[in-house]
């Protein structure tokens, strides 16, 4: 059963369009990430769901109830803000108790509920402190505690980990996943960090330039990106995107760009020849073998593998990944080829759709 539904939602601030034609249907108990670069409308989307902004047109419902006209407090949601938004003049305990107090939970019942959450988030020794006496990680837990103390239908989280250091972020990621499994509640999670989205979500809603680009499970977003933007945005290091020309030769399609010439396909029925873009994941760039000579420009050692940037004739640069045992030097000339059966083809333009038919075999 769909729990959260956006139906053709638009949001304008004056003349400025922040979200355009959003259709999104989130299942009950699902963990969904809104992923996209800064300014693409993620926060606005989340705030509309929370009732802090009102859509200019379209319909939003939570659990079969259209909530367009409901104030935030009546939507049965809880939200964690990027800034945490802890009430500075209240102790940790008062902060966590606030949503209970505002919903008329009797004082005698508040105690055990706060204790339970504090226990779960290891906040018990901090209950009497003020927010400014806490570290960033602790403040983050309090913000989480304030959301968890009730049992709302939907949890909304706006980049909750972005202010933490890398290590703590990793820990909190795992904890949030565990929390989601334990509570089984619908969670909508805004982030610009693809690692967070990939590791935590059941499905990812990739947004760009006010619009939803793709809504699919992480593996699908990675393997079958809906368009050029998604292909380039998901994956580290990112996919090589090569602009060139697509043409039909007999019964097969060829992609050409400078010295590159690879067969592609099968393509969708309505694919046309002309300007197009070839997408090759770094792992599908075969370095050290093949017909094309390439000059090594940069070798980045991550420990368990090396990220290698090469340049071929015509000045085109591409990124590949190879085992850590290879020891190429900058300036060295190597051979390479493109694993064309794993390559994608996109129509021209920044969000040109994918033209090759999905589920191409991807060699590891």
């Amino acid at each position: 059963m769909a729990d959260v539904v956006f139906k053709n939602v638009h949001k304008k601030f004056g003349d400025f369009i922040a979200v355009e034609g959003l259709d999104l249907s989130i299942e009950e108990g699902e963990f969904v990430s809104l992923l996209g670069p800064s300014g693409c409308g993620k926060t606005t989307t989340l705030r509309m769901l929370a009732g802090l902004e009102f859509p200019s047109s379209g319909e939003i419902s939570i659990g079969d109830r259209v909530v367009n006209d409901l104030p935030p407090g009546k939507r049965d949601i809880a939200m964690v803000f990027q800034s945490y938004a802890l009430y500075p003049h209240m102790s940790v305990e008062k902060n966590i108790a606030y949503p209970l107090k505002k919903r008329g939970v009797p004082r005698s019942e508040q105690g055990p509920m706060i204790a339970r959450v504090a226990e779960m988030l290891q906040l018990t020794p901090l209950l009497s402190r003020k927010p400014r006496q806490l570290s960033g990680g602790q403040q983050q837990r309090v913000a989480l505690g304030r959301a968890l103390v009730r049992d709302p239908k939907v949890f909304l989280l706006d980049e909750p980990l972005s202010n933490l250091d890398a290590k703590l972020r990793g820990i909190m990621r795992a904890e949030l996943v565990e929390l989601h499994q334990r509570l089984g509640r619908t969670m909508v999670y805004v982030t610009h960090d693809q690692l967070e989205a990939m590791t935590m979500s059941d499905r990812i809603a990739v947004m760009y330039d006010k619009k939803l680009q793709q809504f699919a499970p992480p593996q699908e977003v990675y393997r079958e990106p809906a368009n050029r933007f998604v292909a380039g945005f998901i994956g580290m290091p990112s996919m090589n995107l090569i602009d060139g020309d697509l043409s039909q030769e007999g019964d097969r399609w060829m992609f050409r760009s400078g010295s590159i010439s690879v067969p592609v396909g099968p393509l969708v029925a309505d694919a046309r020849g002309g300007e197009a873009c070839l997408g090759v994941r770094p792992e599908n760039l075969l370095l050290g073998e093949g017909p094309t000579p390439a000059v090594v420009q940069l070798v980045e050692r991550t420990g368990h593998e090396n990220i290698v940037v090469v340049e071929i004739e015509g000045g085109l640069r591409m990124t590949g990944r190879v085992p850590a045992s290879t020891d190429w030097k900058t300036g060295e000339t190597i051979q390479m080829s493109i694993q064309s059966e794993a390559a994608h083809v996109f129509a021209a333009g920044p969000t040109g759709r994918r033209l090759n038919i999905a589920s191409v075999a991807v060699r590891p």
């Binding site: 802090l52 407090g73 809880a78 505002k102």
Partner: protein, 273 residues
């Protein structure tokens, strides 16, 4: 090194220049009449007496004036702070046409010399049937304290993150509830500084009080004391000094307690406004 010494000297010179009249005021109010005009003057009184204070309290209208001043200043402060708080909230949080220009217009009214407004204001208050009442002074002081208060509170309000209010709304508070539970406590330093400015302004105001109010049971301290102790022929120095000391006491007490808030207020008004 030399520069530091010079700087210190200068600072102390300024402190002395400001403090000496205050010191002299207290000392004079404690000297008996006979010692007042002696030459050379005595720095510390040879005989300390509280007779002037006693005379002031028992034989004059001082207490009535004092009470008028307290009522006047407190009511003005409450009115100004309440309106300015709500106004600042509106200007900062809601988006409507002319919001920014409104804020500047408000500041602009503050640039008008208040003397210019006395006559029209007086005529309006007479028209309202309020002449010669304490309330007419409350209205008059509100007209010139409010713009500044609004401007000051606006910069305090702008410093409160909007997320705090959003969080309270999500947590189930109404807009009024969020305002009361979250905004007001954050605004407290701003409210206190604004209240202090308004209170001091109303407490010390002279010109409007002189023009708008001229019966003995509605006069505030400033005009009341002047009227009673200073005439064309004579100045009652001892009584005047005693009255001045007593006029200053409430301000000094308030200042002592709230000093840190007040300096913060200067900072906010100066930097952000």
């Amino acid at each position: 090194m030399i520069r530091r010494v010079l700087f210190n000297l200068m600072a102390w010179a300024i402190v002395l220049a400001v403090a000496f009249p205050l010191f002299w005021m207290v000392v004079t109010s404690l000297k008996p009449q006979s010692e007042l005009f002696r030459r050379p003057p005595t720095i510390l009184p040879e005989v300390t007496t509280f007779e002037h204070y006693w005379r002031l309290l028992s034989e004059t209208n001082f207490l009535t004036y004092f009470q008028n001043s307290v009522v006047l200043s407190v009511v003005t402060t409450v009115v100004v702070v309440s309106i300015a708080t709500l106004g600042a909230y509106s200007i900062v949080r809601f988006k409507y046409w002319g919001r920014e220009s409104l804020a500047f217009l408000v500041l602009f009214t503050y640039l008008l010399p208040s003397v210019v407004l006395i006559i029209p204001l007086y005529l309006m208050l007479v028209g309202l049937g309020l002449s010669n009442t304490i309330f007419s002074l409350v209205i008059a002081y509100t007209t010139f304290a409010l713009p500044y208060a609004l401007w000051l509170l606006r910069s305090f309000m702008a410093g409160i993150p909007e997320d705090l209010e959003s969080a309270a709304l999500v947590d189930g508070a109404s807009r009024m509830g969020a305002f009361r539970d979250v905004i007001l406590p954050q605004l407290l330093p701003g409210i206190i500084s604004t209240a202090l400015f308004t209170f001091i302004l109303s407490w010390n105001e002279y010109l409007y009080a002189l023009v708008l109010v001229n019966s003995d049971n509605t006069r505030p301290l400033t005009t009341g004391v002047m009227n009673m102790l200073i005439s064309s022929f004579n100045v009652e120095w001892s009584l005047l000094m005693a009255a001045s000391v007593m006029m200053s006491v409430p301000l000094i007490i308030v200042f002592a307690f709230l000093q840190s808030y007040l300096t913060r207020g200067f900072g906010a008004g100066g930097v952000k406004g």
